[in-house]
Symmetry: D2
Subunit: 109 residues, 4 copies
Amino acid sequence: MSRETHQACLEACNACATACHHCAAACLGESDVKMMAGCIALDMDCAALCQTVAGFLARGSESAPALCVVCARVCEACGQECGRHAADHCQRCAEACRRCAEACRQMAT
Amino acid sequence: MSRETHQACLEACNACATACHHCAAACLGESDVKMMAGCIALDMDCAALCQTVAGFLARGSESAPALCVVCARVCEACGQECGRHAADHCQRCAEACRRCAEACRQMAT
Amino acid sequence: MSRETHQACLEACNACATACHHCAAACLGESDVKMMAGCIALDMDCAALCQTVAGFLARGSESAPALCVVCARVCEACGQECGRHAADHCQRCAEACRRCAEACRQMAT
Amino acid sequence: MSRETHQACLEACNACATACHHCAAACLGESDVKMMAGCIALDMDCAALCQTVAGFLARGSESAPALCVVCARVCEACGQECGRHAADHCQRCAEACRRCAEACRQMAT
């Protein structure tokens, strides 16, 4: 894979982790928290995994592509759930998740 | 500080991180999620910081004591909030937080 | 998968992360650090991934089994490399990696 | 503290974590690894702590400023050690560490 693909994936992972951490906390401040429970749970998974993948990528680990396969799926699941909610933080998180899922798929091939 | 203090703190951090991750997810499954919002937010902080401190301790980092000062406060705040809720996962998390706070204070001196 | 398999994997991940963090730092104190370079690099991957998987397991995430597949491979690679070195921290790390690889494979099925 | 200070600190933490992960792995590939041992050890601390702080900042945690005090010191120590080595990855890491230390000090006040 090219240096550009690698760098793009690293940036997408950092951006996605940030969006997911922010979304999780912002969801907890919504009036109907119960409706956001699935979103918060996926945000926690996605934030943690994206930060881990960012570390693997920055270190140039040869396990990065295999981890990106799983990360792409977690990002996709999180993006789909966030995409169902109208709140700004959810919509921005959904977009970051979709971009990261795509970048992880590129890394994984 | 003694080897025992160091080892006890490492184990307390791992146990507290596990309890906080579990409590956060279990709180999201409660019928009144809104009531648990503060608990979930503190669980996320406490789980992440305890895992980081565990790494510093396992590596024997000289920054571990300074980080333990902050971790003790985060554990205490999380333990106090969890202690207010009757759910089993909250009560067990509160206990893990209190033990970790005490172990971190021992490390920090 | 059973509750016992899940709990065993969580404990194996925490133990493996601790052993890997410790081994990485101890390798840096060896007289021939160059010989330990591969070991340190794998320790960093393995410690980070095991801590992430521990979080997924403690939260009961449905992505845990997929992540365990990758974690088993990373643990195996780290355990093989550590097993080549005579130092106590490497031998103990190799054992923790093998146990965690096996526990992750059980989780993944 | 202002929204700009907060956002700048979050970006500096992500950039510093990336630089430290990269530097640690690149140091392991240097011909004289032993000379880089202190640099690698500090990179591991700094990378882990910056990622944790980034999470606290993204969630808007009220413990972020207290954690930033410790992070500033870890970044400073890592930046000083990296700054002693001529390798590109060390010089870039030193710069990222200094910026992050400054951003963390701003957050902490």
